[in-house]
């Protein structure tokens, strides 16, 4: 059975989740990436959206404005979450956001933020942007439009948005960092074997 999270998300919704679990989201999902993080954390500007118990998506979508002025979500996939590592711990603390969706892993600061404030980071499969767009029922608002299409905070009503693969859980476990350690451990013997066969300079 699908495990579905619904906004507003409570601490107890997340406590039993472990890295590698697959969940889906129903409710509100707000796009939020580089400049929005910078404005809140470094420039001290107030976010125009209340994220308490909410979910953000590291994403810069393609949005089309229809003739009646309504926005249509065309294509929305995740962007590299690691770019937000610098800001995310403070961002979680200040906003009370519970679910951060993006691509690839995040680092130790975000891990700390997830443990201290009971939040999780999840991976939506990168590049699957039309699949994601079909899970957006409506764009309810657009804030900070001066940032241009990719960086605007698009407030989306979503239904069973996923798959979302938990990559940092509330216990501070980090799926991608664990995987990277495995990749790095494997690297040396593989390279030794390859290098023995490519000594072309003799």
């Amino acid at each position: 059975m699908k495990k579905i999270l619904t906004t507003p998300i409570k601490d107890e919704d997340l406590e039993a989740l472990n890295i590698g679990d697959v969940v889906y989201l129903t409710g509100t999902l707000v796009t939020c990436r580089d400049v929005a993080h910078r404005r809140l954390i470094e420039l001290g500007r107030e976010l125009p959206v209340d994220l308490k118990g909410g979910a953000i998506f590291h994403a810069g979508p393609i949005v089309r404005q229809k003739d009646d002025g309504e926005y249509e979500m065309v294509s929305i996939g995740p962007t590299t979450s690691m770019r937000m590592e610098k800001f995310e711990k403070a961002f979680i603390k200040q906003t009370g956001v519970k679910l951060i969706v993006g691509k690839g892993g995040m680092g130790p600061e975000t891990q700390e933020g997830c443990v201290e404030n009971k939040a999780v980071h999840a991976i939506f499969p990168g590049g699957c942007a039309v699949l994601a767009a079909t899970k957006v029922e409506k764009i309810e608002a657009a804030e900070w439009k001066d940032l241009g299409m990719p960086e605007t905070l698009w407030v989306n009503r979503v239904r069973e948005f996923g798959p979302l693969i938990i990559s940092i859980d509330t216990k501070g476990k980090n799926l991608i960092e664990e995987n990277k350690a495995v990749f790095n451990a494997k690297k040396k013997p593989i390279l030794e074997r390859i290098n023995a066969q490519i000594r072309f300079i003799k």
């Binding site: 294509s75 991976i123 039309v130 991608i176 490519i198």
Partner: protein
């Protein structure tokens, strides 16, 4: 056809082709992804491959860009010296980018540097980026269109090794880039490696390497061996789709090379994500064209 009509005609073809390649993957990439999907056994990896498959199907049906990051538009031209619109091609491709941005629609991905404003048109200083090679005694032009997305561009790296480090140093450099930064670039990746004389020559060749078909091989036996060894070796790392672990890390490794200074080995890596959006089109002197990258292409 008079010149003005020919310019209009070609602008429209290139505009439609640029938009098209954002929606449907090239035939070689689709085939390779199908192969990797069918061989996968890891639970999360299978889940992701299935999402990828559904996504490409939805993009095709709904006629939308399959990934929201439609990249910075780059055109790599192999232009015959006698192609009738040689001098007009730069303007044609600029207008094709403007057209594709509206038609696609493409995401606005050109931020003017130092001004730090998104131009909103996918055009800006030297963007779309053009890379030229002139072919003597030829009157056609072959154009590779590439959507350089942010995620797959980020791992890009170049360095200059000392000959003592040898080709072993090249392999180490490639593996370091892929294990440290490739994970975030939407694997399984197509890895392009430039082996050359300096940083910028290697970098250019590394990008040209990912324009080659996924399963193609370098014409030199040693280079082809290295492509195969690195493909197998990177797959043994088992990055899996999105770095979630799995059977494969890469769709392939392609090397492009040039001669080098005796004292240097320039090496560079460019990566293409699984959604490797590139297209190859040949345009003849009479403006008839042939799409090489996508079987069954229809405008």
């Amino acid at each position: 056809m008079d010149k003005e009509a020919a310019v209009q005609d070609l602008t429209q073809v290139m505009s439609k082709f640029t938009s098209y390649i954002g929606k449907r993957l090239p035939t070689d990439v689709t085939a390779k992804l199908g192969e990797l999907r069918s061989q996968e056994v890891n639970f999360l990896a299978k889940e992701v491959y299935e999402s990828m498959r559904q996504n490409q199907e939805a993009a095709d049906t709904l006629d939308r860009p399959s990934c929201q990051d439609t990249g910075v538009i780059q055109y790599f031209l192999n232009a015959g010296a006698n192609f009738p619109l040689l001098g007009e091609l730069e303007d044609i491709l600029l207008n094709a980018t403007l057209g594709a941005t509206k038609e696609g629609p493409l995401r606005h991905n050109a931020v003017e540097t130092f001004v730090e404003k998104n131009t909103g048109t996918n055009t800006g200083s030297k963007i779309p980026w053009l890379d030229w090679e002139i072919v003597p005694n030829d009157d056609s032009v072959t154009i590779d269109v590439y959507m350089a997305g942010g995620g797959c561009t980020l791992p890009g790296a170049a360095t200059v090794l000392m000959p003592g480090q040898g080709y072993e140093g090249v392999a180490e450099f490639v593996f370091d880039v892929i294990t440290s930064r490739g994970v975030n670039a939407c694997p399984p990746l197509l890895v392009g490696v430039g082996v050359s004389t300096s940083a910028e020559t290697a970098a250019r060749l590394s990008k040209k390497a990912i324009l080659r078909p996924v399963t193609s091989r370098h014409s030199n036996d040693n280079a082809a061996l290295m492509e195969q060894l690195m493909t197998d070796g990177l797959n043994e790392l088992g990055l899996g789709p999105q770095g979630l672990t799995g059977n494969a890390s890469v769709m392939g490794v392609n090397i492009e090379s040039s001669a080098r200074h005796p004292s240097t080995i320039g090496v560079a890596v460019s990566t293409g994500c699984w959604a490797h959006r590139r297209g190859k089109i040949k345009i003849n002197a009479d403006m008839s064209y042939e799409v090489i990258s996508h079987q069954g292409f229809k405008l």
